[in-house]
């Protein structure tokens, strides 16, 4: 394990400037209701505008509609979008992971069919992993895909499916052959499923504050053609693990409370701050700077062709806990009774953070699972 300090090149700093200019025009500071990180509003028009700049699927090859940019370039764009609280929800999953999976494991026909549309910002994807009886123990998934002529028949249920009611496609981890004793990782495959397919039923699982992100997706004899199997049959576990490496350790795992902190400073403008509040800003700035440097070094490592899975798990575990710590510090210091309908934007955001941030250390793999992944990787290091 080694996180090597890195810094942005002049070209990368230019990209950062370009993204900041774009955001200043589209969402002038103080004029929009910021989103809290990756749980952002879906705004297809915004996604299309970003895509027109080449900032969706930007790390994908040009021949498939991408821009052949690096992981660091993508880091810069994502970081600016999230800290700005931009509505990146529509293209988020496709940009972060599905595009990569299709590029890496998909057929030529699938690349042709999906990648250019992803890069145009058109397609929204959901991820189908958890089931009612399979959460952290993901390999125990039991939703079955059974052989039919030219395809597969699916029966079963996926849960906690974010955005299924708004998205177009569903990348599902399914059991394509029965579980073998002692090898539960075998027999799993990834299938691309049209969320409008006959027999597929989507019902909301209201979030604790009543909002609608989660769904239960039920398959009742849903037909999926052979051409929608991603990669080799039975290789789903491996592909899924690879996919999860893309979703770890990026700015989405440590920037969620940033717009709330920034808004506090905006609203405090012109008032005399107590020392403890000034010190809190100092502490937050320092820690964000440190975590950002770690996260950026992971992106740089990916660009050298490495798969830094231990490093990215460490950053994700640390970053998501930090997000909660930031909110706890604000709650501790700011003596207000904030609520989702407070007049002040800062108070509204803080209330939203308090209510939704317990999920930050759960989504995309609980921190307990991340610790187990990371601690195995720590073993055998030189002492």
């Amino acid at each position: 394990m080694r996180f090597t300090p890195t810094e942005l090149t002049d070209a990368e700093l230019n990209l950062q400037r370009e993204v900041r200019e774009f955001l200043s025009d589209e969402l002038p500071p103080g004029s929009h209701e910021p989103c809290l990180g990756m749980a952002a509003r879906k705004d297809k028009d915004f996604s299309l505008k970003m895509a027109a700049r080449g900032w969706v699927g930007m790390a994908l090859p040009k021949e498939w509609g991408g821009s052949d940019r690096t992981a660091v370039d993508r880091f810069i764009v994502v970081e600016e979008m999230l800290r700005w609280g931009a509505p990146v929800g529509h293209h988020w999953v496709a940009d972060r992971q599905t595009g990569n999976v299709i590029l890496k494991f998909g057929t030529e026909e699938q690349r042709e069919r999906f990648l250019p549309a992803i890069c145009r910002g058109e397609l929204g994807f959901s991820i189908g992993m958890s089931e009612p009886d399979s959460g952290s123990d993901l390999a125990s998934v039991s939703t079955k895909a059974e052989r039919a002529s030219d395809g597969w028949i699916i029966n079963g249920t996926k849960i906690w499916t974010s955005g299924a009611h708004e998205n177009d496609w569903f990348v599902c981890l399914l059991r394509t052959s029965p579980m073998e004793d002692g090898n539960k990782h075998a027999g799993l495959s990834q299938l691309l499923i049209d969320l409008k397919a006959p027999g597929l039923e989507i019902s909301p699982i209201p979030f604790l504050d009543g909002s609608h992100h989660f769904n239960e997706v039920t398959f009742n004899e849903v037909f999926v053609p052979d051409t929608n199997v991603v990669g080799d049959l039975g290789m789903g576990w491996h592909q899924n693990t690879t996919e999860m490496a893309y979703e770890r350790g990026g700015p989405d795992r440590w920037l969620s409370p940033f717009s709330t902190v920034e808004q506090l400073l905006r609203e405090a403008h012109g008032t005399e701050l107590e020392d403890t509040v000034t010190e809190l800003f100092g502490e937050l700035v320092a820690r964000w700077w440190g975590i950002r440097n770690l996260s950026l070094s992971v992106a740089r490592l990916i660009d050298t062709g490495e798969a830094p899975s231990v490093e990215s798990s460490l950053v994700k575990e640390m970053g998501t806990r930090y997000e909660q710590e930031v909110i706890e510090k604000l709650v501790h210091l700011i003596d207000l009774e904030y609520s989702p309908d407070s007049e002040s934007l800062f108070e509204r955001l803080l209330a939203q953070c308090v209510v939704t941030f317990p999920g930050n250390t759960i989504r995309g793999g609980t921190i307990e699972i991340l610790r187990s992944v990371a601690s195995k990787g720590l073993k055998g290091l030189p002492t």
Partner: protein, 359 residues
């Protein structure tokens, strides 16, 4: 990455090998009892390592500040009981910046500048009096250097330790942090170059501690990983238990974080003003030390609480270094004032740009 951001690999390799050979558990323990470790110091000094980053013309060993800080990181990693920072990038730097001779032996510095010791200029001399507290390794130093602000000038007083009364005191790691009494000692007046003042000294002190702390946290994390993989309870290594994995992961994160911030601050300080990076690095290192010592001690159980097991060489140093050259409150206040005065729109550009965004 540009040339100026890379450590000379030979420096890392040589310093690591040297300390691996001469600085083991017993020798660190013995140094604590004796209040010094002449064998370790002599072997270290022979390589010229203490004076890296000070011009050869001024009596130093040449090389970059980045290399000097890499050596300090390894001093921390091996818990080497020697005044490496004081002799080199602190005391040596102050002497060189005021055109004064570097001694062959150990130099130390009065960390709180003129707070405890005072000086007055009389002609071509400075008269030093007062009682300086927590002076590292004063008892074995040849020169004691005091940076003083007198009449808008930065005076660097270099005092022969034989002319001072030294009362032995220690820090929590048992390293000398002596009290030094100056009784109207006369030294030649020497002024620092304009870029060197008490503030610059404070930052440089913090930078030295951040490097030492990064090394110590990393070693502590590695000890914890290996101990918990060896120690068997309930029929399996304790590292297999999820409750213990939490401590391993937290220790490793803080090791990575502290090293990242120290190395980034080192890179920027080698290039020029790096106030943001140094302040942030010391603050982050302080807090990382607090969390990592807790996690690593917990994972070691009772064994970590004994003198016979080496964890305490690292944890006790970290608790001491955390309070040297600025604790949490000092640096969070400094950084907070910078952040608040720049306002909301510049908050993120400060995080990404650091000192470069301050101009």
């Amino acid at each position: 990455m540009t040339e100026d951001s890379l450590v000379d690999p030979l420096v890392t390799e040589t310093a690591h090998r040297l300390f691996s050979e001469i600085c083991d558990h017993e020798s660190i323990q013995a140094a604590e009892a004796r209040g010094q470790a002449p064998e370790i110091w002599n072997a270290f000094a022979e390589t010229g390592f203490p004076w890296i980053s000070i011009d050869e013309g001024a009596g130093g060993s040449g090389g970059s500040l980045l290399d000097a800080l890499e050596v300090l990181r390894l001093v921390g990693y091996h818990a080497a009981p020697i005044p490496a920072a004081e002799t080199g990038i602190l005391g040596g730097w102050l002497l060189a910046s005021s055109g004064q001779e570097l001694p062959d032996g150990i130099t130390t510095v009065v960390p709180n500048g003129g707070e405890n010791a005072t000086g007055s200029i009389s002609g071509e001399e400075v008269l030093i009096s007062g009682r300086a507290l927590r002076v590292p390794w004063a008892r074995i130093a040849e020169r004691i250097v005091i940076p003083l602000a007198i009449e808008d000038q930065t005076v660097i007083a270099s005092v022969d330790s034989a002319q001072c009364d030294i009362e032995p005191m220690t820090n929590m790691a048992g390293e000398p942090r002596d009290t030094v009494n100056f009784r109207n000692v006369r030294v030649p007046l020497a002024l620092a170059t304009p870029d060197v003042d008490l503030e610059a000294f404070r930052f440089r002190g913090a930078l030295s501690r951040a490097a030492l702390m990064a090394g110590a946290i990393e070693k502590m994390s590695q000890l914890t990983v290996s101990y918990t993989n060896d120690r068997v309870q309930f029929g399996r290594p304790v590292a297999k238990f999820q409750a213990v994995q939490q401590h391993l992961v937290w220790g490793a994160q803080d090791a990575a974080l502290a090293r990242m911030v120290a190395e980034t601050a080192a890179r920027e300080a080698t290039r020029g003003a790096a106030q943001f990076e140094i302040a942030a690095a010391k603050l982050v290192a302080n807090q990382a030390a607090a969390r990592a010592t807790k996690a690593c001690h917990q994972a070691h159980g009772a064994m970590g609480m004994t003198q016979e097991y080496p964890l305490h060489h690292l944890s006790r140093r970290l608790w001491s270094w955390r309070k040297e050259y600025g604790g949490d409150a000092e640096w969070s206040k400094w950084l907070g004032q910078v952040a608040v005065s720049r306002g909301a729109d510049q908050l993120y550009p400060l995080i990404t740009g650091g000192s470069a965004a301050l101009n």
